[in-house]
Symmetry: C2
Subunit: 186 residues, 2 copies
DNA sequence: CTTGTCATGTAAGAGGTTACATGATTCG
DNA sequence: CGAATCATGTAACCTCTTACATGACAAG
């Protein structure tokens, strides 16, 4: 899996410019990349070279010229092939867990402050994503089949659940820490 | 958060060589890096330059010479400072979700095969980690305080739960897909 | 006699990030 | 009058990965 396939997939919904793709990717919860120019504009050049997309230059009055990219038949075939490929494992990289591994050096108030900051940050992320989904913001499959809608729903349930589980976990950690008295507490 | 702090943290438990660190990191579920030489040996040079660790060359009979690294007081201060730093968000990057976003093109058998492969892979990962934890393999805090043990337990609960939730999710997706008949199924 | 362990190190490259550069238009 | 939007592109850099290189010894 790489961003080129994601771009190819987005272009399979509709022809778009690099700028459009940048916005979609940077505002998306699913497409987790930052949406930086370097990567997107370079990917488009590469996809074009490989004849998976075509480029159409559109001159606009009072706005900059833009390049609209359209997926080709070869591109659709590549996308289908990739969709069938062996799934990657999710990347579970939680630096906070590593930080916690040495948190025992901290005093009780420092610790509680640290855990509290993490809880707050996770909650903000969860609320943000919940709001975005309620606004129907990312529902690119609204015009798809019933099955496509089902998958779309499951994808976003997965993302929200991950944040919800993390929030539940940190709250449980804090609750236990309050309730249990450790004899060697600093 | 970066691997240098993780290395510093591991060295706060006991003095180790680069080779030892490589093994610990590559076999760990918590320290998610690959454990490649380039990163570890380079980090040790940098930590040494910054006087956060000291180096002791140990000649061994019938084995290669090794370099044992010990954390300094300055290193411990840096570790403590970092432990208090603002927590990073977990990196939730699941390429499989992106793959699913275009899975509607697939036929029912292709789809079921794809979802099945993902379920199998997640289950393998979960079982592997469960086994490692049952073997007490990663319990570096076995000699720590009661509070340190509590954190260690919570850290590994978090990691296992992430895989368990992913497994539950994919099973639920497959169950619903079997039970619901989509009118536009291919 | 080949594979694995101990032990250090380097090279090359993929993938990703922030920041810079340009320039017209529109909105507050 | 300054900031945001539209739109493309480049430069510099960081992190991390795989693979290569060396060499002795132990075990199957």
């Amino acid at each position: 899996m790489d961003i080129q396939h994601a771009i190819l997939g987005i272009l399979s919904w509709q022809p778009l410019s690099g700028y459009d793709l940048k916005k979609i990717i940077s505002e998306s919860d699913l497409f987790y990349w930052s949406g930086n120019n370097n990567q997107i504009y370079y990917s488009l050049v590469e996809l074009h070279k490989a004849e998976l997309i075509t480029q159409e230059i559109q001159h606009q009055e009072s706005l900059p010229t833009k390049k609209k990219y359209t997926i080709t038949e070869k591109g659709r075939a590549e996308l289908r092939k990739w969709t069938l490929a062996n799934p990657d494992l999710p990347e579970l990289r939680n630096n906070f867990l590593i930080q916690l591994a040495w948190a025992d050096q901290l005093s009780q108030p420092e610790m509680d402050d640290l855990l509290g900051r993490y809880e707050d940050e996770i909650e903000i992320q969860l609320r943000m994503r919940q709001a975005r989904q309620q606004a129907g913001y990312q529902n690119n499959a609204s015009d798809g089949t019933a099955r496509a809608k089902f998958f779309w729903k499951k994808i976003f349930e997965n993302i929200l659940a991950a944040y919800q589980h993390e929030l539940d976990w940190i709250r449980e950690v804090r609750r236990e820490l309050r309730d249990v008295n450790f004899p060697d507490e600093i």
